[in-house]
Symmetry: none
Subunit: 229 residues, 2 copies
DNA sequence: AGGAGTTGCTAAGAAGGCGTCAAGCTTGAA
DNA sequence: TTCAAGCTTGACGCCTTCTTAGCAACTCCT
């Protein structure tokens, strides 16, 4: 399960560096941009769950950037500024920002505001909920998978197994590891379970179950989820 | 579409009065409470879209109140305090508040933060008096439902359950979430309740209770309210 | 080539989720 | 105090899912 992606937008390289290390230490994925134009570009390319946006930047202002992004996205936005006037705050919030912080600020507060903002994200936009893999779309909240064009309903164990494999793509996972992760720490020898369930998953997910594209056998080791580049 | 309802919780009658007039002037509906206990009671009775919650109150603290309400509701919460320490802010935000303001504050900023918080609310809950779904008409203020041609009387729990499901249409709601939202934060394992009440709702609302159109089971997950189209 | 171990596949029995009903219990109004 | 409405609890049957067993196909080793 991947973590939230945060886009940091600030023209000051030192602030970008500090934020990056702070956020990565918390387990977030971090992308950054030096100005509004770069930010828009990043938004088009990558999935982004939250934006930390400096108000005062050369070129397109933070407010403009915010308004533009908000007009086409539900991403969470926290604005930063050195100025602490009420008019600024009102302007930022009305431009679509979810929150507003004045520099300097302590990282505990920033992190708390980030947690609060991410909590509010609609489930559909937050990248935590669905993952696209090849021609499959895996939805973690409904525990359903769209394989090719059709909806597939997986049983709890089937889904847990798939989820674990997808979380570690292109790496052979030993039988024991899979069993312990999906069935619990007391399991590890019951390789029969894996044979049955991998078989079911292939029948439900693979176009040609006898020549699997994703759920590959690693003989004498375990199974591997193949993520085509 | 009626306006948003805001619940103001503060022990200081003067602050309640000031907030009330400010908010009403903006076209919001205002309810108030003097302490955490009263707030919980109001939340049970009325629809509330946003909570303005003082941190420092006699009896149950603002933080406790916030945590309790958040555990069973998606309402927007803005916390107020006279203290401006970082620890306080972090505590408030992690207790489930969406935003935090230190007194004294100007009303433009408060209003901007209210607009920002309301913008984030799921559209369905904010302000709708009645919802028409297929051949059903659900009235949230009278707590009555018209299914087909006839008035249906729902019990309090039945209505609460329906209301929560309708407020999150087309999304599977886990058993635990439903139980905590309808029965309270101490519930979560009592899946039998759901079986019984969903069954009752289907008998009262669905044309063909054994082949439901609206109240669908999401096997191994929970239930989903199906809003056609 | 033959045996031992591994994997793919199928199907039957066991376990558990869900729908349904009805009887006890609680609570508040008369 | 009594009564009725509504909530809680238990029982039962149906159905899905998990576990288990069996066999064929295959690989590795001698």
């Amino acid at each position: 399960m991947s973590s939230a992606r945060i886009l940091v937008v600030d023209d000051d390289p030192q602030i970008r560096r500090v934020l990056r290390t702070t956020l990565i230490a918390q387990g977030y994925e971090v992308v950054d941009a030096r100005n509004g134009e770069e930010a828009l570009e990043r938004m088009r390319g990558d999935r982004v769950d939250l934006l930390i946006l400096d108000m005062n930047m050369p070129g397109m202002s933070g407010i403009e950037t915010c308004r533009l992004i908000r007009s086409s996205s539900d991403v969470a936005i926290i604005m930063l500024t050195v100025r602490d006037t009420e008019a600024d705050k009102v302007e930022a919030l009305d431009a679509g920002a979810d929150d507003y912080m004045t520099k300097p600020f302590g990282s505990p507060e920033l992190l708390a505001r980030i947690r609060a903002a991410l909590r509010r994200l609609p489930q559909t936009t937050s990248g935590l909920q669905t993952v696209r893999v090849g021609d499959m779309e895996i939805n973690f909240s409904t525990r359903r998978v769209i394989a090719g064009t059709r909806q597939v309903r997986l049983t709890p164990k089937e889904f847990d197994l798939l989820q674990y494999l997808v979380a570690h793509p292109n790496v052979p996972i030993p039988h024991t590891k899979l069993l312990q992760s999906v069935w619990g720490p007391d399991y590890g020898d019951e390789v029969e379970y894996l044979r049955v369930f991998i078989n079911q998953l292939r029948k439900k997910l693979e176009k040609n179950p006898s020549d699997p594209k994703y759920l590959l056998t690693e003989p004498w080791v375990g199974y591997r989820f193949n993520l085509p580049q």
